[in-house]
Each structure stands twice: as C-alpha cells, then as structure tokens.
Symmetry: D2
Subunit: 343 residues, 4 copies
Amino acid sequence: MTPLLSALAGDPEIDALLSDDAQLTAMLSVERALVQASAEVGLVDPAAAAAITTAIAAFAPDHAALAAGMARDGVVVPALVAQLRATIPQPHSTALHKGATSQDIVDTALMLQTAKILDILQTRLGELLARLADLRKSYGERPLLAHTRMQAALPTRWGDKLQSWSDPLQRHLSGLEAMRGGLLVIQLGGPVGDRRSFEGEGEAVAATLAIHLGLGVASPWHSARDPIVALGDRLALLTGSLGKIGADVALLAQTEIGAITLEGGGGSSSMAHKSNPVTAELLVALARFNAGLAGTLLQAMVHEYERSGAAWTLEWLTLPQIFVTTGASLRLSLKLCDQIRLT
Amino acid sequence: MTPLLSALAGDPEIDALLSDDAQLTAMLSVERALVQASAEVGLVDPAAAAAITTAIAAFAPDHAALAAGMARDGVVVPALVAQLRATIPQPHSTALHKGATSQDIVDTALMLQTAKILDILQTRLGELLARLADLRKSYGERPLLAHTRMQAALPTRWGDKLQSWSDPLQRHLSGLEAMRGGLLVIQLGGPVGDRRSFEGEGEAVAATLAIHLGLGVASPWHSARDPIVALGDRLALLTGSLGKIGADVALLAQTEIGAITLEGGGGSSSMAHKSNPVTAELLVALARFNAGLAGTLLQAMVHEYERSGAAWTLEWLTLPQIFVTTGASLRLSLKLCDQIRLT
Amino acid sequence: MTPLLSALAGDPEIDALLSDDAQLTAMLSVERALVQASAEVGLVDPAAAAAITTAIAAFAPDHAALAAGMARDGVVVPALVAQLRATIPQPHSTALHKGATSQDIVDTALMLQTAKILDILQTRLGELLARLADLRKSYGERPLLAHTRMQAALPTRWGDKLQSWSDPLQRHLSGLEAMRGGLLVIQLGGPVGDRRSFEGEGEAVAATLAIHLGLGVASPWHSARDPIVALGDRLALLTGSLGKIGADVALLAQTEIGAITLEGGGGSSSMAHKSNPVTAELLVALARFNAGLAGTLLQAMVHEYERSGAAWTLEWLTLPQIFVTTGASLRLSLKLCDQIRLT
Amino acid sequence: MTPLLSALAGDPEIDALLSDDAQLTAMLSVERALVQASAEVGLVDPAAAAAITTAIAAFAPDHAALAAGMARDGVVVPALVAQLRATIPQPHSTALHKGATSQDIVDTALMLQTAKILDILQTRLGELLARLADLRKSYGERPLLAHTRMQAALPTRWGDKLQSWSDPLQRHLSGLEAMRGGLLVIQLGGPVGDRRSFEGEGEAVAATLAIHLGLGVASPWHSARDPIVALGDRLALLTGSLGKIGADVALLAQTEIGAITLEGGGGSSSMAHKSNPVTAELLVALARFNAGLAGTLLQAMVHEYERSGAAWTLEWLTLPQIFVTTGASLRLSLKLCDQIRLT
C-alpha cells in the first residue's frame, strides 16, 4: 500500500508494529530469552548467555545482507543469526540459537508482535463500543424507519439499530480476549518440531522461555497453524461487522433517505454539492478485502510435512494485511462515530 | 453435487439433515413452539395453540407450491404459512406465526438443524482423535524421517507426527463445544427485529420459545450473522487441519518415500500397478474447497439495513456446503485411518 | 442445492447437462469415438470398434457399482470401463479405452458437456442483450437521477444506465465466443500425458478423435488447467456484471427512490405492503457466490506432477456450480427484465 | 509488504510503476492531455491549455495535503486539482479538469501505468518461454519418471514435462496480448458517466484524448469494471501456471526423488546439509495468494449506481498487489530456470 492509499485505508500504528525493525527487535528478544532460558536450565553456559545478551544489545544489523539472506533462504533468520554470531566472542557464539530452528524465532516473535497489535485492536474496539453506547443513550428513543430486503418496512427506534451494531462487536471483543491464552504462546520445536535438539531439556527450555517472554507454553505448532488462521478469521468477522455498519450508514445517508447526515463527508472534483460517505464506503471495502484475505489465509492450513515454505510464506503475505485492515477498519469506525448525525 | 460425486466427496448423513424435508420439519417445529410459547405468555388463545398444534401434526405440504413461493418470495415461509394456515379452523388461524417474520422461522430452524449436525461432526471428530491416539500408542516410537521445506531433514518419531496431527483437532473439538452456547440460540425479532410485534411480550415469548426448542436465548440477530459465519470459519479450520493430514499422507506414501502404504488405494484405468492415495488427496481438495466457501461466507457479513436478501441468500448457498464438506472430510479421515499402514 | 433452494437460485436446464447420466453418456461417446478413431488410424481392429460401438449402444451401467468405484478410485472411469468391458465379446474387449487414461475420458466428456452449456448461456446472454436493447429503445430518453458514491449526483438518462449495463455483457458474449476454439478441445494424453501409449499413432488418434466429437485438437492438458479455469473466471465476470445490474435495481427500487418499480416482487410473511426485489437481490448473491467459486477454482491451477487428484477434484467441486450459478443468474436476469417498470 | 518480505516475494520494478509518484505523474499526464484535447476540439481556450501545460510542467505537489485530501475525499483528485489549479494564472484555471470527474483521471492514469506494467510482464514471460525452450532443446530427450496422483507412474521424457509447463504460458502470453486493445483505453465520462459535461463535445474530446495518450477509445466504464477484473483473472491464471511449475520442482527436487537438483537453494539455520527449494515454494505461495486476490477483485464487480466508492476502493486494495505478485512470480521463475539442474 502506497503512502497515499495508506492515508485512506491503512493504519500507521499497526504498520509500525509490523515493520522490519519491529520484527527484528522481536526476533532478537526471542534469541536473547532463549539463550537465557537455556542457561537457566543448564543447557548453555551462563557466561555465554551473558555474552550473547551483551552482543544483542549492541547489535546493528546489516539490512542489505539480511535482505539478501531473506531472498536466498526464504527466511531471514539464518542471515540474522550469522550476522549476530559474528559479533559474539568465542567460545560463546555456538550457544546462540542453540537447538532452535528459524521458525521457532519467527513464530515466537510474531506472537510478541501480535500481543501488541491485539492490545491496540481491543482498545479501539472497546472505545467503539463506548461510542455506540453513548449514541444509544442519546438517541436510542428516536424513531427510525426500518428497511428489510431494500424496502421500507416498519418504524423502529435508533436504539434497536445501535444494539444490532453493538451486539456482534461485543462478541468479537470477548472472542479476541478468549483467544489470547491459546494464541499468544511460544513456538519451540527445533529443526523438526520434536524438541530433541534441546538435549532432553526441551520442555524446561520451553517453560522458561515462555516466562521470559510473557507468553504461554504450547506444544510445537510449526505445521499446525490453526491458532493463527483462527485469529485471521476472527478479525475478518470483526471487519465484517464493521462493514455492515458502513453499509447501513451509506444507505441511511442516501440523499433520498436522509436518516443520517455526515459531517466531513468527502468532496467531489466535479460536483460541489456532494458530501460522500467515504468512511462508510471504506468500511464495506475493508470488510470485503479482509474476507478475501482470511479466505486465502485458510488455504495456508495445508502444510506439507514438518514445515511448508509455501504455506508459511502465504501466511506472511496475508496475516499482516489482515492486521492492518482490521486496524484501519476500527480507526475509521471511530471516525465515523464522529461524523454521523442522526436526523 | 451429483450422486456419483457425492459418493466420493459428499456425506449422506449430513445431506439428510439439510434436506428440504428436514428443514420443513424444523420450521414446523418452530411454528408450533412459537404458538405454544405465545399461548403460555398470554399472547394467543390456548385453544388456538392447540388447534395449530393439531394442524401441524396433520400437515402435508404441497411441495410444488412451496417451490413456487420460494421462487417468488425469496424465502419459503410465506408460502408455507399460507398453506398451513388454510388447514387451521377459524378463528385460530391468525394465531399462527403471530408476531414473527420469515427469518425468525428459518434461522431458528437452522439452529435446530445445526445442533444435530454439530452432534455428528463432534462425534466423528472424537472418534478420529481416538483413532489417532491408538495409532500413537501402537506406533509412536517408530522412527520417521522428518522433512522440512520439501527436503529430508532429520529423524523423528511417528509419535511426534501423530501429535502434530491431533493437537489442532483437539483444539477444534474444544472450539466447537465452546461455540454451542452462543450459536445454538433462537432467532426472534419480528418484522424488523425489535420484537415490538409481540405486543410487549417479546422477551417472554423468546424465553419460552427457547425452552420449548432446547435452544438458548439471544437478542435478535437478523442482520448480525457473526455466530453463523464463525461456525463456517471453525469448520474450515477443521477441514484445513484434516487437509494437512491428507497432504502428509499423500507425500509420505509417495513411491520413493514409502513411509506409509495404503490399503485399498484407488485403481487406475491405465496403470494396474498403481495404488493411488485417493482419500488423502480428497482431504486436500476438501480443505481448499471449504477454505473458499468460508471466505465467501465471510462476504455475507455485510448485511444491508435490517435484513439483506442478498447476504442471507449467500449464506444459504455456502453454509450447507460447508457442513457437507466438513462431514465428508471427517468421514474420509476415519477411512484413511483404516487405510494407512506405517512402515 | 436442495430442490427448494434450486427453485430460487438454481437452473434445471444446466443441472440436466451436468447430471450423472449426462456425464456417463458423454464419457461413453468419448470411448466410442476413441475406438473408432483408433480403428481408422489402424491402432485397433475395425471389428473391435464395431463390437464396442454395439456394446456401448446396449450398455446399461450399474450405478451402485459405479458409485463404489468412484469412492474407491477417485474417478469413475475404471469402474465404468470394467463394467462396459465385461459386455464386449472377446477378443475385442482390450480395444476399449486402449491407450487412454481416465482423465482423457473425463476431460473430453466435460468438453462435450461444456459445449452444450455454453450454447445455452450464450443464447440467454444474447436474449438478455436484446431485452436491454428493447428497453433502451423504449425508455432511453427518460430522465434518471444518477447517483455516485451512494449520493444523488446529477440528472442523466435511462439510456446511459442501460448502456452501462449492456456494454460489459456484450464483452462477455464476445469473450465466451472467442474462448470456444481454445477451450472446446479433446483431451488425449494416455497414462502420463505423452501419448506414447498410442504406439506412435497418438497424433493421428487425437486428430481423428477430435473430428468424431466435433471438438478441437490440442496438446495434452492433464495438468495445465488454464482453459477450464479461465472459463470459470469469464463466467464469474459475467455474473459480476449481472450482480451490478441487480444492485442497481435493488437500489433504484428502494421505496424512497422509486426510479423502478417491480412487478411480481416477493411477498413478506409479516408485512403485506411489501414488494421485495427478490430477483435483484439474487443477482447480487449469485455474483458474490460465483466470485468465490472462481477464486477457489483458481486454487486448482497448482497441479502436482503429471496429474493431481487433489486439484482435479477441486475442479469438480467448483466448476459445475459455476455453470449452474451462471445459468441461474442469466435466467433471473431475463425474469428481472420482465419485472422492472421504469418510472 | 515490508522491504525484507519484498526482497523475497516482491518486485521493485513493478513497485516503482505503482508508486504514488508514478500515479501522480500519470494523472498529471491525463489532465494535460485532457486540456489539450479540449482545446483542439474547441471546448477550452488554447491559451488556457498552454497555461495549464506550463503549470503542470512546473507543478510540485504538497504530498501531505494530498494525503489529507485522499483521507477526506476517498480519492486524491480533488486535492490534486485544487493544488494544481492554484498555480494556474487566471482566467485559465477553470479549464483544468473541465468536464471531467475524478474517476476519469484515476482510471485513465491506471491504464497508462498498466500499459507499462504489461510491457514488463510480457517481456519477462517471453524470456521465460525462451528459457524453457532452451531447456527443452538441451534436455528434452532425457528420461523422467512421471508421477500421477502422487505415485510413480511410467517413464516419460523431460521434453513432455517442459512442454506441459510452456503450453499454458504461451496461452497466457497470447491472452495478455489479446487483452491490450480492449483494456488499455481511456476513461472519460464526466460526473455521472454520460459525457454531457463536455457540452456536446464528449465524443470528440474522448477521441482526441485517446490519441494524445496512446490509448484506445471506449464508452465510459466507471461502473463496468470487467476489463480490469479480467486482467486480474488472467494474471492469476499466469501465476497459477507458474505455481504448478513450482510445485513440480519442489516435488521433483525431494531428496528421495532427486529428479532435479537446485543450485543456490536456501540454507537452514539449524540443518547445514539442507538446500531448500525456496524459489519453487515461493511460486506456489504466490499462486495461491494471487488466486485469493483475484477472487476478491471479482467481488468488486458489484458496483452500486453510477460509481461505487466501496467497490472502487476494493480494486485499489487488490489490483496493485496482483501486479506485484505476478511480477514477482515471473522474476522468480526466471531465477528458478537458473537454479534447476536436471539429473
């Protein structure tokens, strides 16, 4: 998404949490926590853990070399580990990344990033629910002509409409909260996902690593991607519910219906009289876009063997966009609450 | 799906629960429970409820007229109610469907059907988990060469592979069980979803109706379809996990790899020596198909106004297929457990 | 799709061309043409061709055994050939299906079926264009208030609206016509798609087979499915354009806008005054459904090796539905032309 | 897509043609050509056209203000025109954008950008076909064990495999070439798509504008998006065919099969012996991603009224990604040709 399109349909706050820098920082946190946990369980020398911790604090990656490594290896970790390892004094460098595989680092880092993103999304969703509750308090008793199947039906009240908008959002907020425990867990499997590379200390390393990172413990899930894909689904459900609000607002703000007017509607280059329901339309577009992304992410469930480069890369192409799309949709929903005037 | 294709990729047991007869039976159950609940809360005459209950017991629908009504009205309920009403002695006929709208009947009936379908799916999933646990008990210690990114990696054990198959299935089983409470609820909103058509007794009718039908109570959700769409997502996640098993089996059963052999593999019309991993391939195909259907169902979240004929119909085109596809995928997974021989 | 749903959103004429009987008939036509072509090029004994032709004429398949074969082999041809072969007097039975593989038969039969389906779709599309041209002739000069971005914009004329509906349909008609040559071709590859099983006569058999069946010649395309998937795309484009018409009609027929009224709109079970734009809504639902199916069909492009059971089955799950959905959308568009009254 | 992910799965050359700067340059070219065409047909004063041409040459947009306009209006043109207009000496400024609507500018600019992108894609596709032809010339007679339904089948030759890869690519190249005429056309409709805003000179302005820009003439297609969506479909077909090549390479390069080895395969952070088929896996991932995007783009066919902000924005979210994904897939396919060694 270019900067101009992002100004319309993106989300800079979520973007920042998904940047290369944010990912690299998260991956270095995982490597640091891993060596510290490994030291605590006796798998590596504590002096090595200290040396690696120091090296990580001072590490400045060579981005061009990382990009070259990414293009060659299909994952950035081999190049990152090689760069970092070169800065670690001997004999400690082999303790870095010991027992781990690239996917352990990338997936655990993703969970660190996801935790922060969920915080933002849940906060915004809570704010939106509060805004809708305010609207309901203020305008709930006002009459509204209901429409079914695109035809005027019978009078109802704005309170009913606002409840029909809020109910699913409340379910999504609860649903996101309920997912956190099972989702925000470490990934630790080693090369083939059986933790044998940790020389009998796999369970202990995993438990300690999880504590260091503030994540939950789980069996290795290299090739079992359901928690991640389920998150994508839940976020698409959320943007779907926001898209429904957008559709209602665009319909109710039609010139001939006029049940809503919009402050700060979009201008036209050719028709000065128009006030376009841009924000509402965007909610519809983002709902359909996210539905598509979530459907594509579901295709990434079919992992070959113990690790599928194809399916894993497909996640990388979709999940970040689902985060940004959801963030944008919530951002715009809050904006829409500022814009709508019930008549 | 024609009978031949259904023999391969369908599910007759689920089909039966989604047939027109099954739906009509469920809708008549809802109408009966509604009039009884309405009588109990004083909204209709108990004699009318009795007369309608008797009429429903004797009712034989005119299917051709129902089909014509469906084609005309976009929903079968107006024709169904008209047919049924004609069999009710006066002055009781107006008590039928009193306060309700077509969507109340169709959606609540769907929940009755869904409850039965979920019972089957969960039972099968439980059986599958038991079968995988048996395999793990028998063969868990056997060595297996792990593959990552389509290349031989390192030795692991079958127990690890089988756990990586079972873990997500266990999560899906828990996930389905957890959804039931919020999903299997009545729909009762009246024409525009505000229950005012029940003359002040809407909440009481809803609570009583729910008890009659063994469903939960919920606010009207005519235009808030997240519980239904979330079910589609969960089922696509399930078939995705089963597709991953299928992909693994097809790969491990490759002639050159031979980590699995299959009893009863498919024959070829031109190569007598072949034993094709038909069941495993089907799991992949059904996973991708269900992913697509779930993505399309997500597009049905964007409801216009208080009821969208377009979005609602899109559910009808997708959700039943998701049920059948999931049923078939579980059926075939159980078959696959019979077929695989670990070498 | 159950009969009731099919009455609303299905297409019996297209269904019939996709039935098991229709497919079996087409496959038997291919087997007959194949043995005749093989006799003509000297690959099999003309007496065998005659005996097989006679046997095919008398053949009554055992449907239960075919279904069992389909479930076992993943394709019906092995069972079909076995049944048919049993009816052929010796020494001729080995000439049946000689050199061919199941996919040759299924794919070529599909092209025979597709040719008939395209005839119907193109005919309906031509009729629809004629109807829109009639409307334009009658009402083209009538004023219509244009709307952009869901807001009243400026006055235009119905003629412009009708042209904007017709232009893409004209392109789809041309597009379908242009596809026929490259699409409606035989499949003949033998077991692994190289025609070597035809003992040096592969090109000759292919050319003769094509003439017998009225199809074009092409290189084997067992694993190159682009013509089929491109057809699905084109049909989804067509239903997308029809969905746009449906969206316009539903919007313009809104009570408050009233630029269109609809004869024979759908009735409501609770609001006698309503006339719902059921047909228009269906066009939107079918457009979104077909878009989803076409997107899923695109996933079937990724064939493994010389033949992918997974990808091929995914076609079977989607392409027939695309045909039916497109047929239904055209059927309903013609109905909509009968219903709309421009005001 | 972040820079790191883009190094793996992106395309800098296509990115550059889709940047904000590239779009702004294209839009200014359209505005300049429009005023010049309008002058030529007598709609505006030639002096105004000269003044505006001079102003465009000197114009330096205020990007922050453009972003703010984009966020407010849902399209950047109103802010762009306002900024540019402020630099035009009176009385000429009203001649800028005269008769046009934002969509005329954005869509026509998109066609200028698309022409360049298609040039690149077609060039790469041509190169890829040449590379495959070279491989066929060198290795076509080498034996290859064919596999069907994931099982070893019969011996064939590499020439047949390479032909099965090339045939669909040849069709895509022809298909893209054939689309250019109908696709690369101007958009000129004015506010509501009827060209009446050009005061009777609409057809003349359109014809002249097209000549200026080297594009074809077409009726206004504000709400008829089939040419654009059809392009997305064709590109997804192309990446689907490339994904099939990727799937084959990954399968044939399996350690146990070894029909292909790969130079420069990806390294692992934990298993030094591995050479991962990263490029091949990427082709599969990009095929599935593009299939999803094309399916979502098909949802954008359903435009409301004379212009749908929701559907149009959905195009912006998908089509550029389809271009980049296709570019990346072709780029990586060429890289794969360098990497594969047939054994």
